[in-house]
Amino acid sequence: MTLGLEHFLILSSVLFAIGLYGALSRRSAVVILMSIEVMLGAVSIAMVAFSRYVVPALLTGQVFTIFIIVVAAAEATVGLAIIIAIYRRRETIDVTKIDLMKW
């Protein structure tokens, strides 16, 4: 069996779904942030796979992926900083308890 585009895409979508599930179900803000990273990783896989199979002559997907990685890192940094700020004030990072503003 050779690996085809669909295998990568299945992997990517499964990963994306896992990340999404994590982001929507876990209570810890940090875990949610990690789940988002998983989703971005899933996208990267799809991107690279597409690049490899659809336009093998070009590196568009790879370049895109690099940008994604960079941005994800920046986002994670900022996210963690915010989580720290929250923790300092409330001593919790349980997102279900962070619901001061609603309705």
Binding site: L33, F50, V54, E75, R89, L100, M101
Partner: protein
Amino acid sequence: MNLELFIPELVLAGTAIAVILLDLFVRHKGVLTAISLIGIAVAAGFAISLWNGSPQAIFNDMLAVDNFGIFFKLLFLFIAAMVILVSIDYVNKLARFQGEYHALLLFATLGMMLMAAATDLISVFVSLELTAISFYLLVGFLKDNRSTESSLKYILLGGVASAVLLYGMALTFGFTGETQLAGITRSIQETTASSSLLASPGLVFGLVLLIAGFGFKIAAVPFHMWAPDVYEGAPTPVTLYLSVGSKVAGFAVILRVFFSAFGLPEALSIDWGMAFAVLSAVSITLGNILAIQQSNIKRMLAYSGIAHSGYIMISLATTGLSGSAEVIGQSSTLFYVVAFALADLAAFAAIIAISNKANSDLIKDYSGMGKRAPVLALVLTLGLISLTGLPPAAGFIAKFYIFSGAAANGLLWLVIIAVLNSAISAFYYLRVAKLMWLGKPSGESGVPSSPALRLVLAITCIGILLFGIAPSLLIKLAEMAAAMFAF
């Protein structure tokens, strides 16, 4: 490559860095404000000089320099300047990190300018994230419970939305082999005849994910739920910037991406046109209905902003449905965002001054403001009138313009929903006005406002009335900016 075309962005980036550095040395923080404003003015000057040149591409077709982009860039620069001016009154709450505050504002502005110019999915993504990350920080700038909570909600949901958007981009790329917007169109056109690309749900699915990702930025229902919470908790100038800057930038991107990449009727434009029409109807209705019961004015404006996104989406729907023959969809978007920005600026400027004094954003604390601060109350009223869409404010012409495009393109049902909702919206906008002019004042003292704030009030008021009574000029500019779409 011609770097001259990129000077406005460079100036702005330079200013941002300069502000951070200067923050380390200067004691009088007013200098930072001045520098930021000067940087914005210079950038705007360069941007104006580029107006109406022939459209050009830079950075390997990553960015375009055309009237459309410049129109938005100037708008963002104007909004940024206004936001910086109103921030002066808010400054006691931001005392510690003024340099960062201004720098982040400038970076957000830069991001938005890039969004307006981006012509490649990669540059779209990067500029979007530049804006977003700046805003994540700005939202949490107060570091109190509400501000940080807003920030957390914003970044986590923003992350999810980014991932969704990216997945959409990936699918688009995968099915067309292009990240270039123009390339995507070309690819779709080429493959329409030969393969069943469009028949496969993959590209459509990608398109939907793009709509969702961008819908998050513009707070379209059902991707809107972050907005009220974030608006409420964020520092008010940031809320203002978020509601007029970030949202408008979102529309700039949507127009560019959807029209350039999927603008042809055979390239799904009917599909996304209808999708936006439905989203618009839902957004307008829900935004208005939910705004009625709000007790916090910022939250109310958040919901009202959702409704206004809905109105603007009418023009997106028009764009999608009218195809390439006319540009009224685009030009009406441009007019509307300007009118909306002016009205929101006016309202928020007044709110900043009042909430500074009253130390509250609750609507009930606006009671009797007409007596205590007649000028502020008047401006706020004018802003609300413009948001309601009553003449002689610019908001009326903006709505008229948008609706006229929609009515001409078979969206009469949507127009009727929209106009009826305008009537509903009067209910909650006027409620604030009523309270200010009819309510009993809770205190005797007036509300102080700085010259900077008064300048903002004056500019926005003049703008609202000018574009409400003599809108020709702005309509012409919008048409020039939108002309690049006609092909």
